[in-house]
Structure formats: C-alpha cells, structure tokens
C-alpha cells in the first residue's frame, strides 16, 4: 500500500496527482500530516503543495472535461467529506488517462459518486440560500448565522452579492467559525478572535437590534403560522422540505 501525505488543500491534491504521474506510482490512501498510517504501508510519500504543478494538472484537466464538470470538482471538494480527496484523485486520473471525456459515463462508480457529492453540496448551498435569515442590527448591518454541513458559504456569495447589494450584511458559519462581511463595496472573509454574544448564539441581542426588527420578526412568525391550512397539516412533508437542522437559526421557528 502506498500512502501520500499532503496538506489537505485542493492545491495539494492537484500536486499529488502531478507527483504521482512523475513517480509512475499511485497512492492507495491520501493522508494528512499526523494521521495514523494504515496497517500495511510499504511506502509513504510526502507531497509539498506547489502552485505550478497544480496549475499544470488543472490545465490538463481543462482539455479533457468541460468547465461545468471542473466546477463540479471544486464544489465536491467543499463537501469536506473524509473520502472525497481519494474520490477526486481517482476521477482526475481517469479523466486524464482516457482519450474521450469521461464526465457523462455515469456507469462508472467514481463518476457517478462525484456527481452525487456535487449534487449534495449544491443542495446544501440552495438550502442556505433558502433558509438563511437576516436580523437587522442598530448600525444597519444585516446579520445571519448558519450551520451548513458542507462548507458552502463561498458558493452562496454570488447570490448574496447580487440580491443584497444595497445593504451591509454579515453571514457567519457557526460550525467553521468564519464568515463574510459586505460593506456596500466589497465582500471580505472575516474571522473573530473574540466572539461577541451573537457570534456564539447566532441571534442578535435585543439591545443591538434595529428598532423595528422585533416587530418584523413577530410579523413574519405570525404570517408563517397563519399561512398554513389546518385541514392539510402534514408534518412529514414539512420536515422533508425544511429539515429540522435548519430550524435552529430560522426566525419563524423560534
């Protein structure tokens, strides 16, 4: 068994592909620094991320698969699933080795699996776009806390920038402890050393709220309650469309 040790970045993964082709030996497992080695390990190779090598692999891929599928690879990477790096590695290798494009061969388990992971992450992105709720703060900034299972915040940004371009907003990933802030000019990634209360709870303290915020929250809650037709109540369908894990930060579910 051959293990490659890399830094768990996408660039590192592409470098690993490059080095594997140079060495003409391919890994059975990809590990991070410090992860325990598998029981029977003949050889370990340490990969040093190299932008030039990564770019060359990416350029090679661009010749083999469409732009759409390439974005599928980066989106799948954001799933942060434990097995996704090896899956991507196999996919990239197949894409490079075959003369025809493999991207539509859903009979191949890796191609199908990538398309599934891709779909899962895209769904999570959509869910965040659907269910994120802004609270307006005193200074006019709209604050939203989310807890996506995949790291989809970067994928949600185009939507937020397009739609809420004339208001300041902060979207914060509670699980990964980072967020994005838009100040009417540009969107920047933010991390906080010292966390204020709303970064821990996900909700603005009443003293920090805009004066009408409470009323609008109340109105939305009332509206949400009223709009359901009693004769048709269907909790199963309700949960299916709006999984309970999102309720935590949704205004109407408080």
């Amino acid at each position: 068994m051959i293990a490659f040790i890399y830094d768990k970045t996408f660039e590192g993964l592409l470098t690993a592909v490059f080095d594997a082709y140079v060495r003409k030996s391919f890994p059975d497992v990809l590990l991070a620094e410090g992860e325990p080695l598998p029981l029977f390990c003949e050889e370990t190779v340490t990969i040093y991320s190299d932008k030039k090598k990564a770019d060359r692999v990416w350029k090679g891929l661009e010749k083999k698969v469409s732009k759409l599928s390439l974005s599928g690879l980066t989106v799948s990477w954001l799933s942060e699933l434990p097995e996704v790096d090896m899956l991507l590695f196999r996919y990239i290798r197949k894409a490079l080795d075959y003369s025809k494009s493999i991207e539509l061969n859903f009979g191949d388990p890796d191609v199908l699996q990538i398309s599934k992971v891709w779909k899962k992450v895209s769904n999570e992105r959509l869910r965040i776009m659907q269910f994120l709720r802004f609270q307006k703060a005193l200074d006019g900034t709209y604050f939203s806390a989310v807890e996506p299972i995949y790291n989809v915040l970067p994928l949600v940004l185009p939507y937020l920038n397009d739609r809420f371009g004339d208001q300041k907003w902060l979207i914060y990933d509670m699980r990964r402890e980072y967020g994005y802030y838009y100040d009417l000019k540009e969107t920047i990634e933010v991390r906080f050393e010292q966390k204020e209360e709303h970064l821990l709870s996900g909700f603005l303290n009443e003293s920090l709220m805009d004066k009408d915020e409470k009323l609008f929250q109340q109105m939305w809650k009332e509206y949400f309650k009223t709009i359901a037709i009693k004769e048709r109540i269907n909790p199963k369908l309700h949960r299916q469309h709006m999984p309970a894990r999102f309720w935590k930060y949704m205004t109407e579910k408080q």
Partner: protein, 421 residues
C-alpha cells in the same frame, strides 16, 4: 409600522392562503445598482408552512372585502369574518422589509373585488407600480388579474408584474354559474387573452428594439378547485391540456377543495380535502408537460377518472402492456420516459451513459431508477425474467399496491417486561 399592521397581516394572509400558486420561477433578473433585489430563474422557496407547502412569496390580499358571493370562497360577502385593507405604504414596507431579511422572494398580490373589477384592478396596479418605480423593488411580483378587468389595466399590470394570473376555479362553465352566479367563463378567459396578447406583442417588439419593455416575463398561471363539483378528471385535464397549448400558460394549479363554507348546500360535504386526487392530477399534469403524454392517453372516455391507487404513468403502463418490456440499452428517450420508475433525470442519464457501456440493473439502481416499479417493464442485458407480460398487469398492480405491514419475524422471542410499581 405598528401593531395594527400585524393584525391586518394576520387577517389578509388568512384570506389569501387558499390560493395555491406560490411559484417564483420564470424570470431571471440580476441585481441592479440602486434597486432592491434580484430574481432567480428557478424560484426559491424560503420557507415551508406546516402543511408542507412552499412559502416563496408574501402571499397577501390588498383587501378581503368582496362584492361577490362565490360559494367556494372564504371571502364571499355573506361570510361573517374580520375584514381589513392594507394601505399602499404598509404593503410596500412589509414586502421590502421581509425581502431584505431573506424571508421571501417577492410579493404575491391578490384582492377581493370592491366596487368594480376595474376599480380593484387599478388599485392593485398602483401598488406594483409604486413598488417598482418609487421603491425600486427588483424582486419577483406575482399579481392576480381580476376577472372582468379591462385590457388597458391588464396591459399596465404586465409592465410591472413578473407573472399575472386569473383563476378559472371551476373547470366547467355550468358548474361555475351555479356556484358563482356573478362570474362567467368570459370574464375569466378575457383577461387571460389580454395577458397572452401582451406577452406575445412585447416579445415581438423586443426582437426589434432591445430595450422595449418586458411584459409579464414569467407568463401566466391559473388554478382549478378539485372536488367542489362533479367534474371528472377527464374534464379537468382536457382543459389543462388546452390551456398548455397556449403560448404563455406556464402552470395550472389544482387545489383540493376545502369546505370553508360548510353551510352552503350547493357544495359537497367532505370530511377530508381530496388530497390523493389532487396529487394524481399534479402527476398527470407533469406527464403532459415533461413526459410527452397526450391527454387522451391519461384519461379518456373509457377511463374518465385517474386511478387513485397507482400513479397515472403506471396506470397507463398497465393498460398498455404491449409496449413493454423496453430495452434500456436501445430504446429512445421518449420511450424511456414512459417506463414507470424512470423520470426525466434518470432517462437523460441513461441516454448519455449507455454510450460508454451497456447498462445493467445494478447501475440503473445507482443512477436513481426506482427498480421496484421499473423491473416489470424493462430488459437490460441481464434482466428479463418476469416482466408485465409474463406476470399479467393485474398481478403487477397487486404486487405494487400491497400495503407494507411491519414484518414480524416469528423466530424472534419477545420479552415480556413486567411493570414495576
């Protein structure tokens, strides 16, 4: 903004909720500088109500006062219920503030008819006009066109709204006359025609002038109430199919009748809204729009009602066993779509994947084909044992409709716990 608006919101949302349509699809518009919002072409549901229905738009009435007395409607004038009217500013504020908090995709505006159709329509148009021109709202707007409104007002509405709709409500003119004596088909179909004319005309103009205004870019939709009259599924689906032939009709909604006015003896007494029938109608509607079915294949004089036990596609397949089994690796796309258990996505995936290698049942399962149903209707290179022809359609139906009880394994001992007091 104050507490009185909260009360009004409650009353008017209560009155608007029986309108099913809440789609925000059909228009793609990116954000613009100096304007609020954007529109996503596929529509986004921002929440789901306890009944499982999508909340995409702020669905609300401008007023729930109404001069009509339609038997099926909660807002009929003879009903004693709290009435309210929102002012233009209140409505605009609500929409924009909700929108900025990502609660909604836009506004769904409807109204009871006060004074005259034109008077009401004019007020609705004023709201959407204000919203667009003064408050620079760039999100989605769905507006009801009032039956009987004049062409000029419909034309003006189309400039500001993304989608316009007129509800047919009752699929048959005679029944409509009994339940809503003040309405007739003419008053419903005339605005529909105006909308269609407006859309086509604007499309034509935009070919010549790039900046010609768009007219209701998301087209129109309509709604029919199911189960309030004796009309069969055949009548309903034939009407839908005819409507879909028209160039601008995007969706027909079906709304299972909820007896809101149970004192009215022109209406049937139902314990439960006909939810299964409604679901089957939607499935049939999908077959019309995405599966290239003709309406007479789904319902006809021999089968005027949809089968409540199995879905319309399976029902069609069981009536036409001679078409099957279909060879997954050879059949063309249209035929693949006809196989129960294969949807649009699976059919497309099959078509592209089989270029690389022949597909087997294991791969089909992974692609997302519902093999439980599909196995009786297909052959692939390893699977050709028990198709619908060998088993007979009756048996396939029996197998597929069997209720799954919880299986008890009789080898398993059960331990009797004694209650400890």
């Amino acid at each position: 903004m104050n507490e009185t608006v909260l009360e009004k919101l409650k009353i008017l949302a209560e009155s608007a909720k029986y309108d099913v349509s809440c789609a925000s699809s059909g228009t793609s518009r990116s954000g613009k500088k100096g304007m609020v919002g954007s529109a996503a072409g596929w529509g986004i549901c921002h929440s789901f109500a306890e009944d499982g229905r999508c909340i995409s738009l702020l669905k609300i009435m401008l007023t729930n006062y109404c001069m009509y007395d339609c038997a099926y409607c909660i807002n009929r004038r003879s009903n004693d219920l709290p009435r309210a009217t929102l002012s233009v500013t209140e409505l605009v504020d609500l929409t924009i503030e909700f929108y900025r908090r990502n609660y909604i995709e836009g506004l769904f505006l409807s109204s009871g008819v006060v004074r005259s159709p034109d008077y009401t329509m004019e007020r609705l148009v004023r709201v959407v006009k204000d919203l667009r021109l003064i408050h620079r709202f760039n999100g989605y707007i769905h507006m009801k066109s009032i039956p009987g409104a004049s062409q000029e007002l419909v034309n003006e509405a189309g400039l500001y709204a993304d989608r316009l709709s007129v509800n047919i409500e009752i699929p048959n003119e005679k029944s409509l006359q009994t339940l809503a004596p003040e309405k007739d088909f003419k008053s419903v179909f005339a605005p529909m025609r105006y909308i269609q004319q407006g859309v086509l005309q604007s499309a034509e103009e935009r070919k010549r002038f790039r900046h010609a205004p768009r007219f209701a870019p998301a087209g129109q939709s309509t709604q029919m109430i199911i189960g309030a009259t004796a009309d069969t599924d055949k009548d309903i689906l034939r009407l839908s199919s005819a409507l879909y032939q028209r160039p601008t009709m995007k969706r027909v909604y079906y709304s299972g009748f909820i007896p809101v006015n149970d004192y009215d003896n022109r209406l049937p007494a139902l314990k439960q809204p006909p939810l299964v029938r409604e679901n089957r109608l939607y499935q049939a509607d999908w077959l019309l729009r995405f599966y290239e079915f003709k309406v007479d294949e789904i319902v006809n004089d021999a089968y005027p009602e949809l089968d409540l036990e199995v879905d319309p596609k399976l029902s069609w397949a069981l009536r036409n066993p001679h078409v099957f089994p279909v060879d997954i690796n050879k059949a063309d796309y249209e035929l693949l779509l006809r196989i129960p258990g294969i949807g649009v996505k699976s059919a497309k995936m099959i078509v592209v994947s089989r270029r690389y290698s022949r597909l087997g049942s294991e791969q089909l399962k992974k692609i997302g084909v519902v093999m439980k149903k599909a196995q009786y209707f297909i052959t692939c290179h390893e699977l050709a044992m028990r198709t619908v022809n060998e088993l007979t359609p009756e048996n396939v139906r029996r197998i597929l409709t069997q209720k799954k009880g919880r299986k008890l394994d009789d080898r398993q001992l059960t331990i009797q716990f004694q209650d400890v007091l």
